[in-house]
Structure formats: structure tokens, C-alpha cells
Point group: C2
Chain length 422, copies 2
């Protein structure tokens, strides 16, 4: 079978089985998730053994150590995956909520309630934990899942899906709601992206290149996630005691994720004070610096290595310990830089002046503005959602961290007793 036929068949199986989800109670879905968590715990050794095959292949392919680490599953990490499923099982059921309700003058009763999308495709890269993390969020929100992971995690993903389906077989939910899309053929991604009418939504998680491909190729609606060129702007009124830890945390706490900062913008009035300590602290933390002319002078003065930043640098989501630095003349100039180079994800301002903060917020066009705090807080768990399936940096449907609620749509039920329109 070709990729289109394979994906089409998986989608139809998932859609047929999705009725067991759309007609299920929250308690039944919760029980299904707990069964999955228990089965993962029980079969941890099997999962780790399958993962070892992926790791062996990764080493043979000379994969980057950081990528190997993302792929790697230890018994402890498997335990973490199972516990993640339990956390989602404990969240409030997002389905069947009444969102709006009214009775019109003509007697029609209007009820808008939350319902599942139906079948959601996930396209993601190396991390095998996403296979479970995504599956349980989609199941809890009543959606069947087509999971298209990376070929580098093929053995891990296969056993994780087997384990979850075996667990579902003991519950009211059909195992067919989870389908692993073969990753041995790149064409299955395109087939998934074009399974319009069969797949209701596709969510890509991964590199900017992956997301761009999804946006370009897809006829199925998508939610763009992840690409984050985030900025930390240190205003003239900034409290340096706050600014320095916020900067270092935003850049170095976990540089590989989308809410890590890539660019530091410093108000000219505070540059003489703040820049030397900022550049030294970044350099001490192992951050490679790409500076504008003004900040490079400061770097040179303190014998800190740097390159002169190019247009490419300002646009780059490094994912590693590299950072751009620029001096700007005002809040507006900072916002102009961000509007030009940012990706509408997360922008931080460090300032003690409320009018500067308000102006920065008003000029921002992003999923989250961080005021005197780290960019790293744009995160579903940190923001109290309990779990997240990704961080949307598009404006349609969901913006910022997406929890269970973002995986639902709505329907109107309009009840009358024979009304017609005049």
C-alpha cells in the first residue's frame, strides 16, 4: 500500500473507533488513562529494551549527543511518563461544558457545548515520551490520535503504542483510537497532512523546518507550535537584581526549548551599568555571544569573545547556548526589533516603570508577555494547566500553552417546536 492508502485506512479506523470516545463519560476516559499508566509501569523493562534498539541505531548513525539524550528512555523516565498520564487523568473533563446558553424571543433554545475534534494527527520528532504525553491528552479530550513520530524512535514508539492499546483493550475505549503511523516512509507525513475530511486537525511538534513543512503542505487545519525567537528587554528603569537572574534563567535554564530566550535587548540608558555584568554572566554560563556594534564594544572592553550579529542571527532560534545582544533607544525601538525578528511567542520586559510596561504590552503581538519574570514560564504545567500538548504560536484557536480545553471544539444544539424562519 502507498502512504496515502495507509494513512487513509488508519484514519478511518480511528474515526470509527472515536465513537467510543465521543460517547464515553469522563470517568471512563480517566479509567482508560490510569490503565495506560499501570500498563506502562508494568512493562517498563520491555519499553526500555525497545528503546535500546533505537539508541543503538542512533549511535551507529552518529546522532548528535543532545538528540540521543532526547531519545533515551531510562526506567526512571518511563516512570515519569506513566505518572504524567496519571496527572492528566486527574484533570477536569473538558467535554460537555456548556459554553453559552440562551432562549431566543421566538422560543428557540440555544446551547453551545464543548465536544471533541474527532481525529487529531500529531507529527513530532525524536522524543518518544511525546507518544504517550500526546496520546493521553488527546484521549482525555475525547479525540482519536494518529501518531507520527520520528523513524529514529520507531522501536520505542511501537512498543509504547502497543502498551497503550493493550491497556485500552481492558477498558470501554476501543484500542483503535490510537494509531501509530509508520515512520519508515516520509510520505506518510504528507499523506497525514492531506487527509482532509478524514483527519480534523494536525499538530506538529518539533523543529522550525518541520513546522514550516506542515504549514506549506497541509490542507488539514493545523496548529503551529513551537518556533520561539524570544526576547528579554531590559528597560532603563529595570531592577538589575531582577534583570540578571531573569536573563540567565531565560537563556540557560533549558536552551533547547521554544520558550528559551535568544536575544537580549538593553535600553541605552542602562547599558553602561547592565551590559558588562550581563555579558560576563552569559559568558561565564558558556553562552556564545552575537552582538550589535554597541554591545560588541562592551564585550571587547571586558575581553569577552563575540561575533558581530548578522540578520540571520537575529532571526535564529538557537536551541543551544548562543545569544544575540543589542542596545536599543526606547521601549518602542525594542518592540520594533521584536516585531521584525520575533515569532510572536514570548517576550519579556524587565522594568520598574508601569508606563513602560504598559507600552511594551500594547505594542506586543505575542502569545505571552512576561513582566519581570523569566520567558521559561510560558508552559502549560507552569501556568497551572496540568499538562500541555504544545505551545501554539499562531493566533487561531489557541495561543500559548495548550491544555485539554484547546483540544476541544464546540457544537450548537438548537431546540424548537416547529419554528421556521420568516
Amino acid at each position: 500500500m502507498d502512504a496515502v492508502a495507509i494513512v487513509s485506512e488508519l484514519a478511518l479506523k480511528a474515526r470509527a473507533a472515536a465513537r467510543t470516545l465521543s460517547s464515553s463519560t469522563g470517568a471512563q476516559r480517566k479509567a482508560a488513562l490510569l490503565a495506560i499508566a499501570d500498563e506502562i509501569d508494568k512493562r517498563s523493562a520491555e519499553i526500555v529494551a525497545a528503546n535500546a534498539k533505537d539508541i543503538e541505531r542512533a549511535h551507529a548513525d552518529a546522532m548528535h549527543p543532545q538528540t540521543v539524550d532526547r531519545l533515551f528512555l531510562t526506567p526512571e523516565r518511563v516512570k515519569g511518563i506513566a505518572n504524567g498520564a496519571r496527572l492528566v487523568a486527574d484533570l477536569e473533563d473538558p467535554l460537555g461544558h456548556t459554553l453559552r446558553e440562551s432562549t431566543l424571543p421566538n422560543g428557540l433554545h440555544l446551547l453551545q457545548k464543548s465536544v471533541p475534534f474527532g481525529v487529531i494527527g500529531m507529527v513530532y520528532e525524536a522524543r518518544p515520551n511525546v507518544t504517550v504525553d500526546a496520546a493521553v491528552i488527546l484521549l482525555m479530550s475525547g479525540n482519536a490520535a494518529l501518531l507520527r513520530g520520528s523513524s529514529s524512535a520507531a522501536a520505542s514508539n511501537q512498543v509504547l503504542v502497543n502498551v497503550m492499546r493493550d491497556a485500552l483493550a481492558t477498558t470501554k475505549i476501543s484500542p483503535e483510537v490510537l494509531q501509530l503511523v509508520p515512520s519508515d516512509d516520509r510520505a506518510t507525513v504528507k499523506a497525514l497532512l492531506n487527509a482532509r475530511g478524514k483527519v480534523d486537525l494536525v499538530i506538529p511538534r518539533g523543529s522550525a523546518a518541520l513546522i514550516r513543512m506542515v504549514v506549506d503542505e497541509s490542507t488539514v487545519p493545523t496548529i503551529e507550535t513551537g518556533a520561539g525567537v524570544c526576547h528579554v528587554f531590559v528597560d532603563e528603569s529595570a531592577d538589575i537584581e531582577k534583570a540578571l537572574p531573569i536573563l540567565i534563567n531565560s537563556k540557560t535554564h533549558r536552551p533547547s526549548v521554544c520558550n528559551a530566550a535568544e536575544t537580549l535587548l538593553v535600553h541605552r540608558s542602562i547599558a553602561a551599568t547592565f551590559l558588562p555584568m550581563a555579558l560576563i554572566a552569559l559568558s561565564d554560563a558558556g553562552v556564545i555571544l552575537h552582538c550589535d556594534a554597541t554591545s560588541q564594544k562592551v564585550a571587547d572592553t571586558f575581553k569577552i569573545a563575540s561575533t558581530l550579529a548578522t540578520e540571520d542571527n537575529w532571526c535564529t532560534e538557537y536551541g543551544v547556548l548562543e545569544m544575540n545582544v543589542a542596545v536599543v533607544d526606547s521601549v518602542d525601538a525594542a518592540s520594533d526589533h521584536i516585531a521584525k525578528y520575533g515569532t510572536n511567542h514570548t517576550e519579556a520586559i524587565v522594568s520598574e516603570d508601569q508606563s513602560s510596561i504598559d507600552r511594551f504590552i500594547a505594542l506586543s503581538d505575542c502569545a505571552a508577555v512576561m513582566v519581570n519574570t523569566s520567558t521559561r514560564f510560558t508552559d502549560g504545567e507552569q501556568m497551572g494547566f496540568g499538562a500541555e500538548i504544545g505551545i501554539s504560536n499562531q493566533k487561531l484557536h489557541a495561543r500559548g500553552p495548550m491544555g485539554l480545553e484547546a483540544m476541544t471544539t464546540t457544537t450548537w444544539i438548537v431546540t424548537g417546536n416547529g419554528q421556521i424562519r420568516n
Copy 2:
């Protein structure tokens, strides 16, 4: 300039001017809409004269009379357009609403509020009233608008945009927030659909072919509107006194719009009673019938002309007085037919049996289920939204009629006093 450059320039002008909208108060936007309404009233004769040129060209091109009618503006219709703008001006401001707010254990304050998208492109067909209807909804929700109407309405659209921009020039809102995209080149549609990063959202309104093109071509996020193959299902327990008017209203009240019904499904148990009167009433109303074998026998018995429905018929949104008829064995069979041929828009059930109604709702996957009422009620104004920019029949972001609220997105403002992530 080529189409890409033209659209790019218009989008950048609109985005720069959009700051006058995103920083405006609701009262300022309301005043802008009232100024637009007054200017339309004042220059009604000019608008009608420009429209006369489009009508003349339409006649010369032997345009279908129904399409000419959609294009046609009378002084009365112009008055209606102005009053429509006044109705939108009276609606509640959709911006700045607090959607969620909380304080986390670490002291971070989270605020999610509604904000404009930014720049929204509209791609639509003949009706020139859409130029104003869409513009005022987008302005009231704080968005700049790129309006790409039909070349057949070019003169009407140009004068309507001139009038609106002249009105804006007297207000706090920059006239540049409204941009008419030239319709003399089809390439401008594609340029608009691919102005990713410059345009935040594109909404197509029009034929299935237009919407399909938008879905296929667009890299800008879109909201699919309009294609409606809607069904009326008459259950075995239906009250025929309700069923007949609902059927006739759903099909004939305004056959050209998306919430008109295209297919009648009749439960076998009630077919002998209901079908003869239904087919006679439809035929008397001038409806051309496309029947399945069972219903065609009934049509033949009563000497009502019909064709045997083909696969194409079941999928067709006629937009005119034609209707498919089929007899089904159960609620589930009706739902199966709808799942196979429907477009997830509006499905009606006529039934006095709550368990059948509940089953029909549970199996439906559409924007609106009508219970004992006409499909024609899936409409923003009828549902009390005050105005609508279109009817979404996708599941992402907005489903069903879209009012002002659907034209907003959200942002998070996270305020701390130096918190970093551990």
C-alpha cells in the same frame, strides 16, 4: 508591481495603521462605525451610480440573473448596509475581556485577555454589501482589513471603500486600516493567501470552489466558511405538522445560502405517510427532486417528476430549488448518510422521541444540530450575535456563525517580581 508586491505593500500599510485600532477604545471604534454609516447614507447616490457600472458590465457579460441580483444595489439596499454598520456599532466591545485570571503559588499573576488578530484578509464573491459588512465587523474587533472582492463588483467595492476611508479620516482610526485589494488580477488572491507573517488570518466567503482553492493554496491560517450540504431528517416519531413547514422552510426560504437544506432523509416507518405530502409540497414549491429508488416510486405514483439521485447529487450544495430525497431505516442510518455526504454544517432532526433526538445529536459532527426547527436558523443574527462575518464549518477556532468574538485572539500577560524557573 506584481501581485505579491502589491498585496505585501497593502498588508504592511494595514499593519502599521492597525496600531490605531489595537490602542483604541471601544467608544472610538463605535464612533468610527457610526461615521461610516453616516457617510454611506450621505453618499448613497454615488454608491448606486458606481454599482450601475458593475450591473451594466454584468448584463453585457450575460451574467446569471440571480448573480446580478446579488450584485445589485438600490438606495434601499444601501440604507440597509448603513444600518447594518450601526447595529455592529451598538454591540459590546469584544476586546480587552479578561478570559482567565489567576495567581500561581510562586506569586506570578496570570491574565488572559482578548486582543485583535491584527490584519485579516477577506476573499469574497459578488455581493458588494460584504465589503462594508466585513469591514465594520473587523474594525469593531480591532482588526485591519484587506478586502478582496469580486472583479464583477469592482466599481461598487471601490466607492464603498473610498466612502469608509473618508469617514475614518474624520475619526481616531487611520483610514489605512482598510485596504481594497485589486480584483483585476486573480494573482492577488494567491498573494493574499501566501502573505504569511504579514496577514494573520484569511476568511473566504463564497462558492465551494473558492473555499477549496483557499484551503489548498493558503499558508496563512484560514477559517473555512460556508459550504453547506445540510440535511433534514424526519424521524419515525416526527410530528408531521412540524415536519412539513420545517422541510419547506429549510429548502425554499433562501435556497442560495449555506444553511439551506439539500437533502431530505425520511425514516422508513413514516415514509408512506410523510413522503407523498412532502414530495407534493416540494414539487408545488418548484423544487426539482433527485430521489433514491424508494422515494422515486412514491414520486412516480403521484406523477411527480424526479431523477434517480447519483453519488454527485448527494454531495451537491445546489444553491437553487433542487433537493435529494432518501428513505433510511433508522437514526443511525440517517447519521451514516450525513457522515458520508454532509459538510459538518447544519443537520436537522424532526422527532418527538427524545432518545432518537439524543442519539442523532451524539452521532452528529456538525456546527449546529437543529431539533424540530429549520436549518435556516444557523445564522449569527438569528442566534442573537448581532452580526456575523460568516459561518465557520471547520472545527478550529470558531464553529458555526462567527460574530465579533470570533475575530479576536488572546494574549497572556504574566507579571512577576523577579521569579525564575527552577
